[in-house]
């Protein structure tokens, strides 16, 4: 009897990556909503090192760190593969997954800054999107190739969260004609039936994001 639990928080792109992977593979799981301001004993027991979400618990064995979880899911439930079979292509997918995660301070910087600093952050995010489009995506339909894969789930940050960060920060990073290939990928990503059925409510996300920004900026000035 398989028992799969996912501890997550609703606004988190890291939790969603795992949700999407489980859903794409049709793995049945119990979702446990965590409150990061009041972490459950379960979370502290399952992820004592980082005390963060997401945590996947499979038959009582906990796995933390979203990219580690994604690889675990891929290996444990190999049907509907989310990584290519060719080792070089797999390495390529992993490289881009790491790239996005390494650059997350830049992306979030857009949202955590004001004035001149924000202008600088906006420019940096544009440069990032250019690299992602030209070198990550290239001429491919998905980051992983012909089908949606783990790298796409990680880049799902862009269609779902980047716009929200922009709006709550009162900034627009891209104009409609910018990054045409990335735009096509965004549409393909959003249209995937599994992704479509598992998205955070955009209004709630925006409200949450705006509120969080106010608190973060206030604590910076204080």
């Amino acid at each position: 009897m398989e028992e799969v639990k996912l501890l997550g928080v609703w606004p988190s792109p890291y939790s969603y990556r795992v949700i999407w992977a489980l859903e794409l593979k049709g793995v049945k799981y119990e979702y446990v909503k965590e409150d990061l301001a009041n972490k459950s004993d379960l979370l502290l027991r399952y992820n004592p090192v980082h005390q963060k979400v997401p945590v996947l618990v499979h038959n009582e064995k906990p796995i933390a760190e979203s990219t580690v979880i994604l690889e675990y899911i891929e290996e444990t439930w190999p049907h509907n593969p989310l990584l290519p079979t060719d080792p070089h292509e797999r390495a390529f997918a992993r490289f881009w997954i790491k790239f996005l995660d390494d650059k997350s301070p830049t992306l979030v910087g857009l949202y955590l800054t004001v004035g001149e600093e924000q202008e600088k952050a906006t420019k940096e995010v544009r440069e990032l999107l250019k690299i992602i489009e030209e070198q990550g995506l290239g001429e491919k339909k998905y980051f992983g190739g012909d089908k949606i894969g783990l790298a796409d789930l990680v880049f799902g940050f862009i269609p779902v969260w980047l716009g929200v960060l922009e709006e709550s920060a009162g900034v627009k990073v891209t104009k409609p004609d910018d990054f045409p290939r990335l735009q096509v990928w965004i549409e393909n990503f959003r249209e995937n039936p599994v992704i479509k059925a598992n998205l955070p409510d955009p209004h709630q996300l925006l409200a949450h994001s705006k509120q969080k920004r106010e608190v973060l900026l206030a604590s910076k000035i204080a």
Binding site: E65, V68, E71, Y72, R90, A91, F92, R94, K98
Partner: protein, 218 residues
């Protein structure tokens, strides 16, 4: 496998290229090593790693790969002898978790302990020690992270023992001590004594000189 089908672009003091050397040696893979001058990066490096322009880069059959842990996974997938990662998915997840922890948490604290001064340095030293203690828990009482023989995490993080000791010597503050981290301390010692590991290390005196010189710049 012909030597010219595998190339490693590295830098002699870089622990990141060292990890890859260890993995290639462990698996008995012949390769051509190219020493990069990081102050004057070669067109080859810039072509093979346009995103980060960093070493190590592994080139296999003309296809380049960057990022040391990703290179290790690739090496493990292509050359199956002397596996780095265990077979069981949960054990593999634990190995990936600890390798990531070492890179994300231990290394930055170590770098900060080396490069900062005063209160910032004190905080960094404290953080480095705490994170090293946590890393020790990942050993789960085993001799190596890989069990009786070295594996993925040993190769990914074993270098930290040498660099932490060197940092400790230079800044005059011990980062790893046998009293509070006995298992980690033995692990580092055992790992660095393994012949193939030892053979690939840069000469210790030159490494120390290099680190001392680097330290004067901070």
């Amino acid at each position: 496998m012909a030597e010219d089908s595998v190339k490693l672009l590295g830098y002699w003091v870089s622990p990141y290229s060292l990890k890859v050397k260890w993995a290639l040696k462990l698996k008995g893979i012949q390769y051509q090593y190219v020493e990069e001058d990081l102050k004057n990066k070669s067109p080859m490096l810039l072509q093979y790693n346009p995103v980060y322009k960093k070493i190590p880069v592994l080139v296999h059959d003309d296809k380049p790969l960057a990022e040391s842990l990703i290179i290790l996974e690739y090496i493990d997938e292509v050359w199956k002898q002397n596996p780095l990662l265990p077979i069981d998915p949960y054990e593999r997840a634990k190995a990936r978790f600890w390798a990531k922890f070492a890179d994300d948490k231990c290394v930055p604290a170590l770098v900060a302990a080396f490069s900062k001064k005063g209160e910032e340095q004190e905080r960094a030293v404290k953080e480095a020690r705490e994170n090293l203690k946590i890393l020790e828990s990942g050993l789960e009482g085993k001799r190596f992270f890989g069990g009786e023989t070295i594996g993925f995490v040993d190769i990914a993080a074993g270098w930290i023992g040498c660099w932490a000791q060197m940092t400790g010597e230079i800044i005059g503050i011990k980062l790893i001590d046998a009293e509070t981290m006995p298992l980690l301390d033995s692990w580092f010692q055992d790992f660095l004594e393994i012949p193939l590991i030892k053979e690939c290390m840069p000469p210790q005196d030159e490494l120390l000189e290099h680190c001392k010189e680097l330290h004067t710049k901070f």
